[in-house]
Subunit: 116 residues, 2 copies
């Protein structure tokens, strides 16, 4: 059972696994850095510590972003979307957001380039 504020918990529309999507965006530049998942407890920890904390679906554990790499995310603002299934985190990203070392997880693979 999470300690997440019940007035927030009742707004969430979770997946069958109990998760909501979380998009991290760099404050100021607006770069979309990454997308990951949170359950109620991950959101609770993020809101109360302002350190972005996600839930790993593959490992089934919580991870504080940057805890091992140092590439932390200080959370300035958290918003919930209109249907309650996606969070937007406005953060200050230290270093690379992507585990590959890229600044964002969307840097490497362009499927459709800008029109020339």
């Amino acid at each position: 059972m999470s300690e997440l504020d019940p007035t927030i918990a009742e707004k969430l529309k979770r997946t069958a696994d109990g998760l909501v999507a979380a998009i991290a965006q760099q404050r100021g530049t607006g770069e979309v850095l990454m997308m990951a998942w949170m359950d109620d407890e991950a959101l609770h920890r993020t809101l109360t510590t302002r350190r972005a904390t996600y839930f790993s679906r593959s490992r089934g554990t919580y991870w504080v972003k940057g805890e091992t790499s140092g590439h932390t995310q200080h959370v300035h603002e958290v918003r919930l979307d209109c249907d309650g299934d996606t969070l937007l985190l406005v953060v200050d990203q230290q270093g690379a957001a992507c585990h590959t070392g890229d600044r964002t997880c969307f840097d490497a693979d362009v499927l459709l380039p800008v029109e020339s």
Copy 2:
């Protein structure tokens, strides 16, 4: 069976329902507008028409963004993230992205305000 380019299709890491997440971001301003879902065919249509086309999980149908409202998204660029399960669409949003009439789906509900 979708006509999606097989070299793209083989990169996608889909949910059990065959979907990848798609984040729409306004070109220039960097606003995060909304998050929705695509299957292979929705992505194929988006890439070939440059009109953002999503898959509705609740209705089980494709929807061209703005087809009824006029609030279309012209797609400038599509990027795939490092683990193949999330797309970033850089778009020109006509009018409101949110069905509520708000500019973005994240305008209405601030869970954690900016530090004062």
